[in-house]
C-alpha cells in the first residue's frame, strides 16, 4: 500500500544541496553514496556533486560493475558493498580500558563520542536491516552502548528504489522495495527533483527549512510508476514458507557438503551482510603491562577459530560453518529476534567471490535429500 501521498511534497533537484547543508548546519556528519574503487560505497559527503550522478550498477552472483546511465539520475542504482552497519556498528571499537595503579587494575568504559550521523540514500532493504540490528543491539536483555550512541542520533533520509539488480529479492523477504517506515524523510527521484515523504517529526522539521513546493498529480503518478518499475524488475525469489522448520530439520542434508566444496569460507558474505553482527573481543595491551584495552572487531562464523573451545573448534569444516551461517540467518534468527535475519538485499550473492546464491541454496535444501532422523 502506498503511503498517503497527500503528505508528500516536491523538492527540486537543484535544492537537494540545501538538504545536505541544513543537516550539516545541525551538526550532522552526512554519509551518502559515492564512487570509490569502481563501486558505490557509503562515505562522508558534503556536496551533491559527490553522489554517483549518471552511474548505475549491474550485479550478478560474484560480479558487480559500474556502468554509465543514459540519464543523470543521482540515485539510479541499488545497494553496493557497504552497508550502514559500518557506521552504527563500527568494524573496530574500543570497549574498555584498564590501567594498572597502585591499587591494582582499574577498568572503565572507553571514551566514545561518535558524530551525529545523517544517512542519505538508505534503501528499503537497508531500513529493514537497521530495524533488525536495532532488535539485536537495543531490544534484548542487554543493550549495546556503542550501537545505541550512534543509532539514537542518526537521521535517515531514505530513497525508494526505482530499479532492481538481478540479485535483489526484497519482495520475497517483504522488506521492499518501497520504504514504509524507519526513516525521517524518504525520497523518490524524478527527472527534475524528488517526491519527499515525511516519516517523523524530525523529518518534518527539516523539511520546513527547505524550499519545497506542492507536488503535482502528474509527478505523483510518475513517482509511483518509477517505484513500480523496481518491483517489476525483481526476478529473484526465495520461498520463505516454513523456512525455520525446514532448515532446522535439514541439518544433515547433503547440500551442506556440496556447498561446502564451493564456499571459500572467506567471510565476505558476512562482512557485506547488513545484519550480521558477530564480533570478537580481543585484548590490545601495551608493552609495559600497565595499560590494556578490550577491542571489539567484526568477526565471522566462517572463521575456523570462531567456535574455538578448549578442545578445539566446534565447527571443524566449511560445511558446518556455511550451515551455521545460513541456518542462523534464515531460521534461528527467528527464534532469537522474532524475524528473519535476511532482508533480501542480495549483497551476499553479489560479493561472494565464487557467486554462491543464498536463494539457490534454500531451494536446493527444500529438495529433501535424505532422511534426517
Amino acid at each position: 500500500m502506498p503511503m498517503n501521498s497527500t503528505s508528500s511534497v516536491f523538492l527540486a533537484r537543484s535544492d537537494l544541496q540545501l538538504l545536505i547543508d541544513r543537516l550539516a548546519e545541525q551538526g550532522f556528519e552526512v554519509i551518502g553514496p559515492t564512487i570509490s574503487q569502481a563501486a558505490i560505497v557509503y562515505d562522508r559527503i558534503h556536496s551533491v556533486s559527490e553522489l554517483p550522478q549518471g552511474w548505475t550498477d549491474r550485479q550478478a552472483p560474484g560480479e558487480y560493475r559500474l556502468e554509465r546511465r543514459e540519464d543523470d539520475q543521482l540515485f539510479g542504482y541499488v545497494v553496493g558493498p557497504h552497508s550502514w552497519k559500518r557506521y552504527l556498528f563500527p568494524p573496530l571499537t574500543t570497549l574498555t580500558t584498564a590501567d594498572l595503579t597502585t591499587n591494582g587494575w582499574q577498568m572503565r568504559a572507553a571514551d566514545d563520542n561518535p558524530p551525529k550521523y545523517a544517512f542519505l540514500g538508505v534503501r528499503a532493504c537497508e531500513l529493514a536491516a537497521i530495524r533488525v540490528q536495532d532488535k539485536v543491539f537495543l531490544e534484548g536483555a542487554y543493550v549495546d552502548p556503542t550501537y545505541q550512541r550512534r543509532r539514537q542520533n542518526a537521521f535517515i533520509v531514505a530513497v525508494n528504489c526505482t530499479q532492481a539488480a538481478s540479485t535483489c529479492f526484497c519482495t520475497s523477504m517483504e522488506t521492499g522495495p518501497r520504504c514504509r517506515s524507519g526513516f525521517d524523510l524518504a525520497l523518490t527521484e524524478l527527472p527534475d527533483g524528488f517526491e519527499v515523504e515525511v516519516g517523523t517529526p524530525a523529518g518534518e522539521a527539516l523539511l520546513l527549512q527547505l524550499p519545497t513546493t506542492p507536488i503535482a498529480e502528474q509527478q505523483l503518478t510518475d513517482a509511483e510508476q518509477r517505484r513500480q518499475q523496481a518491483v517489476d524488475q525483481i526476478t529473484r525469489k526465495m520461498d520463505t514458507e516454513g523456512i525455520r522448520d525446514l532448515l532446522l530439520t535439514q541439518l544433515n542434508h547433503p547440500r551442506w557438503e556440496e556447498v561446502g566444496q564451493r564456499c571459500l569460507s572467506c567471510t565476505n558474505c558476512t562482512m557485506v551482510c547488513p545484519t550480521c553482527f558477530c564480533s570478537s573481543v580481543e585484548e590490545v595491551a601495551d608493552l609495559e603491562g600497565q595499560h590494556s584495552e578490550r577491542e571489539r572487531r567484526w568477526d565471522s562464523c566462517f572463521n575456523l577459530d570462531f567456535s574455538y573451545v578448549s578442545g578445539g573448534p566446534v565447527r571443524r569444516d566449511i560445511r558446518s560453518r556455511y550451515r551455521q551461517w545460513l541456518t542462523h540467518k534464515l531460521a534461528s534468527w527467528i527464534d532469537q529476534f522474532g524475524s528473519s535475519g535476511c532482508v533480501g538485499c542480495g549483497r551476499c550473492i553479489t560479493w561472494c567471490p565464487v557467486g554462491i546464491d543464498i536463494t539457490e541454496e534454500v531451494a536446493a535444501l527444500r529438495e529433501v535429500g535424505h532422511d534426517n532422523k
Binding site: 574503487q37 558493498p81 572467506c266 567471510t267 608493552l287 572463521n303 569444516d317 567471490p353
Partner: protein, 266 residues
Amino acid sequence: MSAEPKPKIGVFKFASCDGCQLSLLAAEDELLTVAGKIDIAYFLEATSHIDAGPYDIALVEGSITTPSDALRIRDIRQRSKYLITIGACATAGGIQALRNWADHDEFVRAVYARPEYIETLATSTPIAEHVPVDFELRGCPINRHQLVEVIVSLVAGRRPKTPSHSVCLDCKRRGTVCITVAQGVPCLGPVTQSGCGAICPAYDRGCYGCFGPAKQCNTGSLSQQLLADGTPAPELVQLLRNYNGYAPEFRYESERLAGLNSEVIS
C-alpha cells in the same frame, strides 16, 4: 621478576633477503620497551657480539637451500628451547622455491661461470621440513607488529595471537571494495592469511598471497572461479607460485593447474 634470568634470543639467517630481520630492527622503538627483559645473544645483522647459546628463543629467517644449511639448522635447533620461523622463506621456502619446479642444474650452469664451485640443493624448503618448529610467523616480509606480539608474548609467557583468517575480512573491516567482484582482478585474498593489513586490494591490486594460505582455505574453488571468469591457467599458476608458492595449499593447486594446462596443450 627482575631476579629471573632474561630469555636469550638468537636471530639466524638462511636463504633470504634479510627483509624480515630488518623488520626486527625496524621494531626497535617497541623492542626498547622490552629490551630490559630480553637478552639478544646472537644477531649478526645488529651486533657483532656472539653468544654461542643455548638460546631460549631462536628466530629463524630464510629457507634451506644448501647442504650446510641443512646441518646448521639442526645445530641451532639443538641449542634452542623455542624455535620460531619468521617470514615466507622460513615458513614456505620463499620465492627461491620456484627452483623446485625447474631444472636446478641448468640454473647453476646458466648463472655461474664455474658451476663446480657451487654447492646447493635442488630445492628450497621451509625450516619445518628439517627440524620441529614451535611457532611460525608468516609474511613476506613479516608484520612488525606481529613480531613484537610474538616476542612480548614469549616474554610474558603466553601464546602469541596471530589471526588465521582470510585477507578478505581485513579488506572489509577497512572498507576496501572487493576488486575481484567489482573489477575482475584475480586476487588470492580469499585463500590468504591475514597479517599484512590487506594493503594491495586497497590500491586496486590483487593479493599476492604474501602471508601464505589461510587456515582451511579452499584454493581449488577459488581457482575454478578465476578460470571460469577468464584468467588463463598459466597466469593462475604464476599467481599461486609467488613468495608462498611452495606452501602445500598453494603448491597442490598450482601443480593441478599446471597439469591441466599441459593436458590442454598436448
